[in-house]
Subunit: 188 residues, 2 copies
């Protein structure tokens, strides 16, 4: 139907949209090429022509995700908050349904092979987020911004990881309390 | 060869040993039934007779793992340390090669379906570890043992998660520094 926005987009856009939805929600391993193609409304031949392989689509999916913050990283960009408040807001309990932690970390768990084309993207994303944390920690007046950034990255990664196992409250409430203690110790 | 210990064990033991090695190292999704059977030296028919399906073997793999601490959890049981030292030792940089975080968390990332037989085991393991942390925090004299346990669980989960992406030093050194701050704030 020509009026359907989803169908009007290019096969690339439709495949990436299907990848974002299915890889994040169900996992990369369990999502087959047939399911991706059916969700995107393209043929398998089109997928292979565009991305070479499922691994190629996985790499493109992560490269596109790397262009903007993940939903759980968004509080770090809030301009209605002070730098210190932004660092703490990362640990507010998320309310958006269907969150299952960090898509980069999740992909890393499923794709441990050192030569997978997605691994450099995963590592670069974590390093870039750590640099954002350090910039914000510096703006917040931390005595050792890199040290505080490293601590908050571990805490953020842990809350993301536990979100899928224990739910948002059990993962983010203790992380928020810990972030409060770490910020108080690092910013005089 | 009858002298090979691996081959002398029962098909169940050999399949579980292959699952421990391959699921943890390479991931659950990418490890196929054929690869598991080849590594264990059993037929596919034997696998299906014993476990019903690959999902059944995954559930048995996690149930067996749940019988003892994971390598990264072991410091919590060290009887040469005080309770407070045990809590901090969880964040010593691990030296064992091939570690790729928590096998329960990793399985949870790959198996998000709420009705997968492994999910209850994953959740129960995290809750049991949190209870161990709270017991140790109480023995260490924490004013709010459950609160401290929740904070340390997030931090531990984060170090486990980052281990695979950034390596042991980048994951555990900042986690150790953060644990030190959290312990000092929680134990007067």
């Amino acid at each position: 139907m020509a009026t359907n926005t989803e169908l009007e987009r290019s096969p690339e856009r439709r495949l990436l949209a299907a990848a974002r939805r299915l890889f994040y929600r169900h996992g990369i391993g369990v999502t087959g090429v047939a399911e991706l193609c059916a969700a995107a409304g393209v043929s398998k031949r089109t997928l292979y022509e565009l991305y070479g392989s499922k691994d190629g689509l996985v790499a493109a999916y992560l490269a596109e995700l790397a262009e903007r913050p993940t939903p759980l990283e968004e509080p770090l960009d809030r301009d209605d908050l002070t730098p210190r408040q932004r660092l703490l807001a990362l640990f507010d309990r998320p309310t958006r349904p269907g969150l299952r932690g960090c898509p980069f970390h999740n992909a890393g768990v499923e794709l441990p092979a050192a030569d997978h084309p997605a691994r450099a993207t995963i590592r670069a994303h974590k390093e870039a987020f750590r640099a954002d944390l350090a910039r914000t920690a510096r703006a917040a007046g931390a005595a050792d911004p890199d040290g505080l950034a490293g601590q908050l990255l571990v805490l953020f990664e842990g809350a993301n990881a536990l979100l899928a196992t224990l739910g948002a409250a059990a993962a983010f409430d203790p992380a928020h309390a810990a972030a409060d203690v770490l910020l108080a110790a690092a910013i005089r």
